[in-house]
Symmetry: D2
Subunit: 353 residues, 4 copies
């Protein structure tokens, strides 16, 4: 096969420091037998990418450099490996960013999303902040033509939201959502679309995001300078909510979510914590005595969550457009991160056209 | 206690024949220690009431006469028995029409809706086609003031629809609904409100009802002179639907629902059958080989379904107004049944003001 | 009705201090319309009774005195209230010790065991360390004649174990049980009887209890001076266990149970904690990242757990006899508690013959 | 690679007629990149093999000839394809006989056992009634050394029984098993091992099999000249059973299983039917009115069922030895089928040593 291209522009993390990223001309990646080469159309910035940009403790502990990062994208297949079936040049695709092993106990029992041998696109292998990316064939998702490229690039965080909300099984239930960042806001839209009876959203001192939450379907929004637990009980006939969905990563919000539950309620957690506010014996006892269930969520069920997300997207009930606050050309990579770090951003989209 | 009233108008089935019903002046019922007297505000006609009106084989086998029938209603508490707690004069209420025993294996394990000793309001005891009705205290549901009386009178059939749709757990799934009578149409609205990804509705030669289905959220409607199974597959990427909900009571629709399922799909049945088209060994084998699940639904989960229905009603997502086609004063009782029997009716509401 | 008896011997907590209990002659309790009077045959000492005996902080905060305590028993109905149905003099019974309200959200939706208005036999109302006890009719369980009275008196803690093990759904799974006190040991027997694939039991420095665990079906027993997490992985092909059941009430055991889980595993907690070892952000993150589920357990599902426990008892698969280490006449009440406090006791049974 | 062998003895169905099978010397199969060559140690005769032997309508419609049939086996890996990972020469293995596609909706959502594109070992590709067999690498299961080869060859039908019993979730429940052929009898053993509270087994006029059922843990056995439904109710306090497991493939047994269920009970069906006794509208209505659930079972969950089966096997609770009635050398292939067809056989094992 003769390639018309051989180099591409990519955002390469080259130094282990804040930013430390350069747009460079690098070779287009080779693909192996079971990989496809995708020409990226749209990419989106994830919270994880911000950790990498900032080079926080987690990033420094987890990753090697140099690396091309980024994992939320949509694009078109440019080339397929020799053993690839069911994917062809020109296909409109996105990808599951988690690269599971298929050999472990979890993968062999329908739980690939929690494979203990997981690799990740843009973290442990080169990602998609680049004109081209090599993706394992098994990880490819064929996008529906009716979903436009910038929305298709959001299926990774949308899938986080969908898995979390679906774990809460919210139809006809009262729901508290703590944390109105992009994924929390997507969860508001998903909960609304799937019949949550009453949706209450809390956020730490950011009424701008609560306004978006209202537009996406929140029935009540609360800033956490209020006594949230008390207010939640007032709004739920004194019972507390059936389901708490935690996206903030703040230990205090986790505790609030638990205390706001009615007896027998369910807490679903996507957030990750770095707080030094500990969880006490009384917090645990509250779970035990009141018959609470807690479930941790990571990634997306492969592929159940993708099917679910797509059906919701195609039904027209999700308002993800509301969450895209800024669009940049990929050449203006650093402007995108500046916007993302401003505290006023929703999702930031890069285009590669 | 001094009563200001002692007689009332009631629709009494007095003869075991078609119609056989007279509006009569009868004594207001006495209530026992654990009952409340309700002044009926709105009543609605159920398919079961039509069986009683027609005095079909089921009615003749099941019921004694004379009886006041009817069981779908809303009203206001007039008087409470001596041992009644938590209910008081003036309360705005409806009631669960199934009178469970509380002593059997099912009642003792959280499954009161399938109590084998069940009695039924308006079938095995006097019902609510009357100005006043005696209701067991345990059966009372307190209505939210935001739900207007005619909608509140529909909670019994709505609960059938909600239990059926919730058994299908439809969020993010493709759904086939067979039978677009009032409960089937309510199910369309409930499925739409709870995130069904694609809703396909079929009906036997009644395109009028399919138009209503469209307004309530159906994505596709099919008359059953088409090859439904083939069309369903086309509409679902060749897979068939994840869930079939059967409301028609036609054996052919049941079979269509099963054949339209994707492997591992779920069939939920509320319809009751009187067909002589049998189910063959091949129909059963199809369930077995393709790993299908089937669940029969009766009544409403007590009180889970009522809470779920109310939250959906209060969220404003259900369009039950669309289903009320005729309103009559209770004095025009026979006009109501004439409308119900016309084949063009949705729900018929009587008012008692 | 003429009573042949009017006084009885009861263990009355009269002083808010260690022991503080006297065997006294007190009036046989009156019963109201919806209560039955039970002549106690066997009573058993619960960990809660030991808290009351010691008058620890929880007891001092929770209870009033004087009170007759104790709630695990079997006996025979002596008298029934005027409104009582389905129970008659001479019936062989035990009772659910949790007195639910039947009016709250939880009670109305099949979750009476977590009623927020719960009262408790022997804590908030007089209990069964007495020759006679008044029990609400709804709380009575009819014992099968094939279950002997001392075993029947153990259905309350057995029900704790059954609810916990059933929440883990252990058939064909690997299971870690932390804490080999009486309920933890019952759980070993229940897990063995319900098909747990491999049962590993840990206990803090009490090899005597681990020997009992072995006799009840544990495949491996570990003292917690070993590196439990490492050993559990070795015993489970490197995966960790599918299910952890926590009975110890030690925060360290809770953490060990979580770390010993395979990704996607389930933690079920019955223990209650008073530790000052906090739960850290890393402990929470481990739950989130590895997709762990946690469920708190209290009491017994009413009456599901009772039916389940009885079927297991009648199948002959539970070896509860092994757990009864001491038997006393009720007159030797204080000897019973001395045995219970010795650290070498399993269950202590009082007889009233 | 130089092979020391090039031909092998295999049972080849060469004619589309009763028996039509010859033991022939044929080439050892070549393996492709993703296959392994297994030297068969033990093979077992399945009911499907008997259909092929008899060449009944199903076989004639489904299969091409010539073919080597058989799919239940254990053996040792002789050679592995170039792309095979995690399997090596000498490994002690069995295999999942269903060859799923990995690309369809079901395979992509954790339901490989109901892949609509399924191929089957010994039906649509050459099977294991031969000294060597080529098996796709993904289908290989590594056997535990503690499980002896003849028991390991039974994991395919054992997996049918395990999936069926686990779908009934039988711990602490009353269970009816209809049909005491080899898989029904395995189900008795699995139900006993996983805590079924009471096991009742019925069989059509074969008291010999009911004796085996008793030894495997049945509490009651009934020949179907009795009024089974009535007897089941007597044995379950008048309630009927919680779960019916149907293995017989007789429509009458299916109906008996349904009628024997308590309200809200669950019917699980593995049997396949060829009866002309139809299922009536009343049979369907009984499912609907009484809130019954029905689930069809095929194959084994891949690989959940295999893990579960192995843990039960290793726990020593399954008595599969009781089910092996005859052992033959593979050279005496036709003697094996004669025994299988005698009506008195359990499982028949061939050895290849």
């Amino acid at each position: 096969m003769i390639c018309m291209y051989d180099h591409m522009i990519a955002a390469v993390k080259i130094k282990g420091e804040y930013n430390g990223t350069e747009l460079r001309k690098v070779p287009v990646p080779d693909i192996s037998d079971d990989e496809v080469l995708v020409k990226v159309s749209r990419a989106s910035i994830c919270g994880t990418d911000i950790h990498i940009y900032k080079w926080n403790e987690w990033a420094a502990d987890t990753m090697g450099i140099p690396i091309i990062y980024g994992h939320e994208f949509s694009g078109y297949v440019e080339k397929v490996g020799d053993k690839v079936k069911n994917i062809k040049k020109g296909d409109y695709v996105s990808a599951e960013g988690h690269v599971w092993c298929d050999d472990c106990y979890q993968c062999r029992t329908g739980r690939r999303h929690i494979c203990p041998n997981m690799k990740s696109l843009g973290i442990s292998r080169n990602g998609i902040f680049a004109e081209y990316a090599a993706i394992r064939d098994k990880n490819i998702w064929h996008n529906d033509e009716s979903i436009k490229p910038e929305i298709a690039s959001l299926q990774d965080p949308l899938g986080n939201a969908v898995q979390t909300v679906f774990a809460g099984n919210v139809a006809g239930k009262t729901v508290l959502i703590t944390g109105a960042g992009p994924i929390g806001l997507m969860a508001v839209s998903v909960a609304k679309a799937t019949g949550a009876g009453k949706i209450i959203v809390t956020e730490h001192a950011n009424s701008y995001r609560l306004d978006i939450a209202k537009r996406l379907g929140a029935d009540h929004t609360l800033l956490d300078n209020e006594d949230i637990v008390e207010r939640v009980k007032e709004l739920t006939d004194g019972n507390g909510v059936d389901v708490s969905l935690e996206f903030s990563g703040a230990m205090q919000a986790l505790r609030t979510g638990l205390k706001s539950l009615t007896n027998g309620g369910k807490m679903v957690i996507l957030g990750l914590y770095s707080s030094d506010i500990p969880f006490s014996d009384e917090d645990i006892n509250d779970i035990v005595i009141r018959g609470i269930s807690v479930e941790g969520i990571t990634g997306r069920l492969i592929w159940d969550t993708w099917y679910q997300s797509n059906r919701l997207l195609k039904s027209g009930k999700l308002k993800l457009d509301e969450l895209i606050t800024d669009r940049f050309k990929f050449d203006d990579f650093h402007d995108g991160f500046r916007a993302a770090l401003s505290g006023k951003a929703g999702k930031i989209i890069y285009s590669f056209d």
